[in-house]
Symmetry: C2
Subunit: 507 residues, 2 copies
């Protein structure tokens, strides 16, 4: 007993019996962490950006292979629209189980600009480091097989967190149960999507086509980061999102800024004025009606928010800026409001390539996050009307020569379809069981969040299938998700395996 | 006689005698235009951006070779500072001449971003076209040797106009005189600089070191475009210029715009607000004191400006925008005021590489053009004070972590040394003789401009040598100078040869 007790202390789990299923899951992982990491490195080494359809398909086939190696019968579900990256689907029935849980993750990743990756990293060349590279971590070779891996080490690569970590945690969680002769208590289905970072434009038609196959009591969405405190989270919803691109026009060809500066209009200046008109210095959006149709939080949701640990000051210090937006609200409060973010902005060149020109165009990409009550296209229209109120003529395609000489302020605006926000009720019984299951994996009280700040294609499950969703993330919060130098903390990947296994075992 | 008269009509020169020197210069060019074009293509094929020191040196050596082939003894003048691209200098003494004219051009070019060059062009792969590619011109192979070249054709390459055309016009002008047994009336010196596009930071020390060698009565600066009407110009001054770079800071690492959007401050938005504060919608600069120390134009200068043909409406139509800056002033009036231009602006990515992030930094490059009375550093300081008045803490180097967490609005500002404006008196006798000489090459009344909108390193000649300057440009105005798809109209290169030869022959 003494030895087992010591082991339990060592693993910090609070499990005091050798047959504690979570302890057995952990022991399996510890015994196989090198193999799991090798497989994960192979997974993240396959490029998975939307534009690279051939490699997206390779990624899907690799995921199918991962499932087959684990004894899961896996297949690709094609969308009715040709050319769409397939869903990788699998199913394991549990004799006697009355409920079915579908585990969702996505295998596609955000676009990359390899030139922006720092410390010699490349998006699809996974690289270990002894910690976060921007806070003292160093690139490092993997310890020899048999040596334990330090859970604070990071693996750097596009999608290491978002969301190949989700794919890995779900499949390794299932594998750990099977290898430990632990039986899932529910029927388990697996659903890995390939278009999430594009806003899941064909997910609805895939769900509609495979309605019977996808019958379930709950979707568990494994995506996003755990709480900044390191505590595990169960998240009941997500903000929506819709991207808009703006392109403002100047002279038809680039002009020498000396021979024409002061006379020919500068589109970068016009764009700066337009963007500046959209918010005030606290980040409050000045677009008319922007906050109008927000559904208020319920009393239970307000209570849950109040219980979320507030680490804002610590995070602000770590992120290295002096003042957050808002007028005193916390991060979680502000994430429950719609937002307007500038994702990127460009006109001609800066740095070594800068030249003394009046640029021909200036572009920006906006990202509107939405909360319950907002509609993506309605929100876009509010911004379009705001642009028109600044005196702009708005077009949806490249303007003609006649339009360019007719309208002093001319902007091309294109918006994506977007994804609305979704929230599952905090008191939904099966969701309460997920909370309880995740709580078995950790002595720390888990965080219950009414909505994450990020976006997941949650509404479509409700619309197409009438299904419920909860989100159970695994990544570290400081993962550079969506940006250069994306990474996963190994400990988060290992914890994620336990989390997913616990949900499969939920009562 | 009849035959000669017909030839004179054919060349459109108004010259009615076979011994008209300008006619002989033209006949020389017509007989050798294929060879001249071949040599010019070789010249522009050598990369000449500041960062590429090896190729800049190759360019200098090629220019030296061009001079030697024309019997001009040529040498490289090194700056006292090591590593500076050399000046290529040459001299031809004219027996009996009492005056010396130095012809200046520069062989370096503006930075290039090859990705921005359109129609398959590359900056250093010269390519002929039947006209401007943005208005119906087509890429074309050169006609067979012996076939005349259409003067409306263009040659596309970096520095085809700015300013290798100047180098070529000066040397071919001299060559045409020598081959036609025409004697220059003045001592001729040649001075080809290699750092003009960087703001000529070492020109002063080169002039100071070689003061005796560079003694002259006048510098003729061959750079910039002729008037938009196609008329030749003599320009008596240039605006000054100083570049500033601004870099605004957000979170230390890029953040997911969902998980932090509304809370973490966005540097692109801050930069947009800062830039928007600098001008109004008419392009008028709102920086306090920006227009304060402008030296008014003299009566003679005002008269000269009033005589400049006004093609503003035609140019605006061709450039494809609806409204020029200002409140009714003409292009030449506005070019006699200081300006603030955004050369480039960037934060994270737009287009296919855009991702849903809060960027870490946002950058802009500004270009302040200066008129007589302005001082480059004083003008920079006005902008810096304006930035501080918007609440910014201004630093000159990458901010420390402590600065980033201390100042809500933090900007790094770096300014170059800059170049002040310069104007030569319109009634300077030797300048009047240049005007008269250029007028002999064309029946069209030439334009006399008190100042060009662009910048040349003119002040340094006065400071270091007490020298006078006039500028005699050759390039077409629609040359995409400083930008992608730079080009020269062949007819402008040919006209430039005659212009330079005429000045060497001036009475």
């Amino acid at each position: 007993m003494k030895k087992l007790f010591a082991l339990a202390l060592l693993v910090g789990l609070g499990a005091t019996q050798a047959n504690d299923p979570m302890l057995r899951v952990r022991q399996f992982r510890q015994a196989h962490e090198h193999e799991l990491l090798t497989e994960f490195e192979q997974l993240v080494a396959i490029p998975n950006v939307a534009a690279d359809t051939a490699n997206l398909r390779r990624t899907a086939l690799f995921v199918q292979g991962m499932m087959q190696r684990r004894g899961i019968s896996a297949r690709l579900l094609a969308a009715p629209t040709p050319g769409v990256p397939p869903v990788v689907f699998g199913e394991v029935r549990t004799p006697g189980a009355t409920r079915t849980v579908i585990f969702y993750a996505h295998y596609d990743g955000q676009p990359v600009n390899p030139a922006q990756w720092r410390e010699g990293l490349q998006p699809f060349q996974p690289q270990l480091a002894t910690g976060p590279l921007d806070r003292g971590g160093q690139l490092a070779a993997r310890p020899a097989a048999g040596q334990p891996l330090n859970p604070d080490w990071r693996l750097y690569a596009r999608s290491a967190s978002d969301d190949k970590a989700g794919v890995m945690a779900i499949l390794a969680g299932y594998q750990a149960l099977a290898a430990s002769k632990l039986k899932a208590k529910v029927n388990v289905k697996f659903f890995f999507e390939g278009e999430e970072e594009r806003g899941s434009p064909h997910l609805g038609e895939i769900l509609a086509r495979h309605k019977a196959l996808l019958a379930s009591d709950l979707w568990v969405i494994c995506d996003g980061p755990v709480h900044q405190s390191g505590r595990k989270q169960v998240v009941f919803g997500a903000r929506g999102d819709v991207n808009m691109s703006l392109k403002v026009y100047g002279p038809r060809r680039p002009l020498h800024s000396g021979h024409y500066g002061n006379w020919a209009p500068n589109p970068a200046l016009a764009l700066a004025r337009l963007l500046a008109s959209m918010t005030d210095s606290t980040g409050r959006v000045r677009v008319a009606g922007f906050y109008d149709d927000v559904t208020p939080l319920s009393a239970a949701e307000k209570t849950a928010l109040a219980q979320v640990p507030n680490l804002d000051e610590t995070i602000r210090q770590e992120l290295g800026f002096a003042r957050s937006y808002g007028t005193g609200q916390s991060l979680v409060e502000l994430l429950n409001q719609p937002s307007l973010n500038i994702n990127g902005m460009q006109s001609a060149n800066v740095g070594a390539q800068a030249a003394n020109v009046i640029p021909t165009v200036a572009s920006a990409v906006l990202d509107l996050r939405l909360v319950l009550g907002n509609d993506a296209q309605r929100q876009v229209q509010k911004v379009v009307r705001h642009i028109e109120r600044q005196g702009y003529h708005v077009v949806a395609a490249e303007p003609t020569a006649a339009e360019r000489t007719q309208y002093p302020l001319l902007v091309r605006v294109n918006a994506e379809k977007g994804e609305n926000a979704q929230r599952t009720r905090l008191d939904l019984p099966i969701a309460r069981q997920v909370v309880a299951a995740v709580q078995t994996t950790t002595p720390d009280r888990i965080v219950q969040l009414p909505s994450m700040g990020g976006t997941l294609p949650l509404g479509v499950f409700e619309r197409e299938l009438g299904a419920h969703t909860v989100t159970v993330p695994v990544a570290n919060y400081d993962n550079n998700q969506h940006a250069e130098n994306e990474n996963i903390r190994l400990g988060n990947l290992w914890d994620g395996i336990e989390t997913m296994a616990a949900i499969m075992l939920m009562k």
